[in-house]
Amino acid sequence: MTAAIEAIGVARTLPGPVPVTLVQDIDLTVRPGEFVAITGPSGSGKSSLLYLLGLLDVPTRGSIRLQGRDTAGLSGDALADLRLARIGFVFQFHFLLPEFSAADNVAIPMRRLGELGAGAIRQRSEDLLASLGLAEHRRKLPEQMSGGQRQRVAIARALANDPAVILADEPTGNLDTASAQLVFDTFRSLAHDQGRTVVAVTHDHDLAATADRQVHLVDGRIV
């Protein structure tokens, strides 16, 4: 079976008078339907690795394969198109557009992709919100919702274009235990029930333990 994401000998070094190496010697394969947790101390390179896996950043050495396709040498636009159609990001901060309602925020990636008509887009964003228990909040602005609700809207948005890969960077960092548990339950179900690949960074060892596999980073290397 083709790996969903594959990192082969990946390193990322920031250029400068004093070059900073964010991650190095990363060899990682994540299968479809797998839920992987990335753990590690602060500053160990967890976020950096996630950005590389999500084609948001480009490795200085090695390569990232998305669903078997090598992404090395792709243009910025080509990487953006891959992110749009195949990858969903969830960050610690929700990053919802403050002027748009929950449903409109979820609709944005679909409208950008342009594969669905307006009616289908509205239907799908409402379905996604409903599946995350937010049916009655769909018309609210982000500022009218709680932190946990916003984060679930962000997850719905990440799912909008039906991506093969969900990447989450400390999605539960600002949430209470119950909400955090709910988010991780959602991720597990996305992987196991819907066959998506989920990679989530977390500090929380209890949550990490609920994943299929844990990848531990120290000083930019997998240990």
Binding site: L56, R83, F89, F91, L97, E99, A107, R111
Partner: protein, 416 residues
């Protein structure tokens, strides 16, 4: 959901920054409105002036002058050699258009034009204790009426009474007012030749062109020749064309054929037409300056929006928006300010023009007029709109390009 996504985001951004958006809208609107108002006023004035000139003055005038003094024979005898002439004394020729008869005959054979011979000179007009210096033009009324609109401009008297009165004189309204002269008054006329003549005012005209009304008088050609002591001399041939656009061409060809200096109305009014060029330059730079200020406003709003929306830009890019998508959002914002500003400016400009049109007052400059003479044309709307949209797009483009190049990794990392 009907709006395209980029436009929808742009609209929300602008609505969010309402006060700044309104400020830059006001800037663009004022630029557009002022342009329309000023352009309509200035062009109205200029076109009115040109129309009056075309109407009142001959289209082409042949003068008893040469553009270049005739070459000295010695230069012809020794071409390409260094010749110094000193103590040169110009021949004291009798001035005037020699061969005027032949020129008039030749011109009259051409279609679409009217010709009138005249003799122009200076006089001093004395009425009671008042002395007024003036130009006198000797005319043949039967020809003059087809060449200038003197006859139409007469407010009292008639052109034909030049024939019937013993020594008839037609004067401009300005002279009449200055010296307190009325119709049928007798005035003393003294010419530089020393001839003194008692003349009867048989007409007063008002052309609306200040210089003419204040300084011009007309007499019969024969009387003028007597006054100037230049019997049978004609020093100007005036031509009126059915198609005024032909004036410059005709002037050139007449001058080439007969050698006399021949001026089109454009050349005769070149000083004033030159002022118009300067006026227009001032107008364009004033409006340009307003629009530049408006541009700074737009630049400012969009830069501020971009600064505030850095997070949004970060998430949009990580979501899969391309650089061009991001750029488009902010260019749309500038464009919307430009288009909206243009529309408001159009309405405002229309209002300004109509308001100016409703004003009534006496004005005397190059011309005499009641109120503003306004020129209304869609061109002013097109030009001002194009300037507004081009300027606001450019003002938005710069920050938009910067925004599109932001690195999403820096943003999402920083905002965590």
């Amino acid at each position: 959901m009907a709006l395209p996504l980029g436009l929808a985001i742009a609209v929300r951004h602008l609505l969010h920054r309402r006060r700044q958006t309104v400020t830059s809208l006001v800037g663009v609107s004022l630029g557009v409105a002022f342009f329309i108002g000023i352009a309509s006023m200035m062009q109205g004035f200029q076109r009115d002036f040109v129309n009056r000139i075309i109407d009142a003055a001959p289209h082409v005038t042949i003068k008893d002058e040469f553009r270049k003094p005739p070459p000295q024979p010695v230069f012809a005898a020794y071409p390409d050699s260094a010749v110094i002439l000193s103590g040169l004394k110009p021949k004291d020729e009798i001035r005037g258009l020699r061969g005027a008869r032949a020129i008039i005959d030749a011109l009259e054979r051409m279609p679409g034009l009217h010709v009138a011979p005249t003799l122009a000179g200076q006089i001093l007009l004395r009425f009671g204790a008042k002395d007024v210096s003036a130009n006198v033009t000797g005319i043949v009324p039967d020809r003059e009426r087809f060449v200038t609109k003197l006859e139409k401009d007469l407010i009292v008297g008639s052109l034909d009474s030049l024939y019937t009165a013993a020594n008839g004189l037609i004067i401009g309204e300005g002279i009449a007012l200055k010296a307190g002269i009325g119709l049928n008054d007798m005035v003393s006329v003294i010419a530089p030749s020393g001839v003194l003549m008692r003349m009867k005012v048989v007409g007063i005209f008002r052309s609306g062109i200040t210089l003419m009304d204040n300084f011009d008088t007309y007499a019969l050609l024969k009387k003028a020749q007597v006054l100037q002591n230049r019997p049978n001399v004609v020093n100007r041939i005036r031509i009126r064309l059915d198609d005024v656009e032909q004036a410059a061409d005709l002037a050139r060809s007449v001058e080439a054929r007969f050698g006399w200096r021949t001026e089109s109305w454009q050349e005769q009014s070149s000083n004033i037409l030159g002022i118009f060029v300067i006026q227009n330059a001032i107008m364009y730079s004033t409006v340009g300056a307003i629009l530049i200020v408006a541009c700074f406003g737009i630049f400012n709003v969009i830069s501020t929006v971009i600064y505030e929306k850095t997070r949004d830009i970060g998430i949009l890019k990580s979501m899969g928006f391309r650089e061009a998508d991001i750029r488009r959002i902010f260019v749309y914002e500038g464009l919307m300010v430009g288009i909206l500003g243009m529309l408001i400016g159009w309405a405002l400009g229309y209002g300004i023009v109509e308001f100016m049109g409703s004003l009534k007052f006496e004005m005397e400059g190059f011309i005499r007029a009641q109120g503003f003479v306004l020129y209304r044309t869609p061109r002013h709307y097109v030009i001002s709109g194009a300037m507004a949209i081009a300027a606001s797009t450019f003002a938005a483009w710069l920050p938009a390009r910067r925004a599109s190049r932001l690195n999403p990794v820096d943003i999402v990392r920083g905002a965590a």
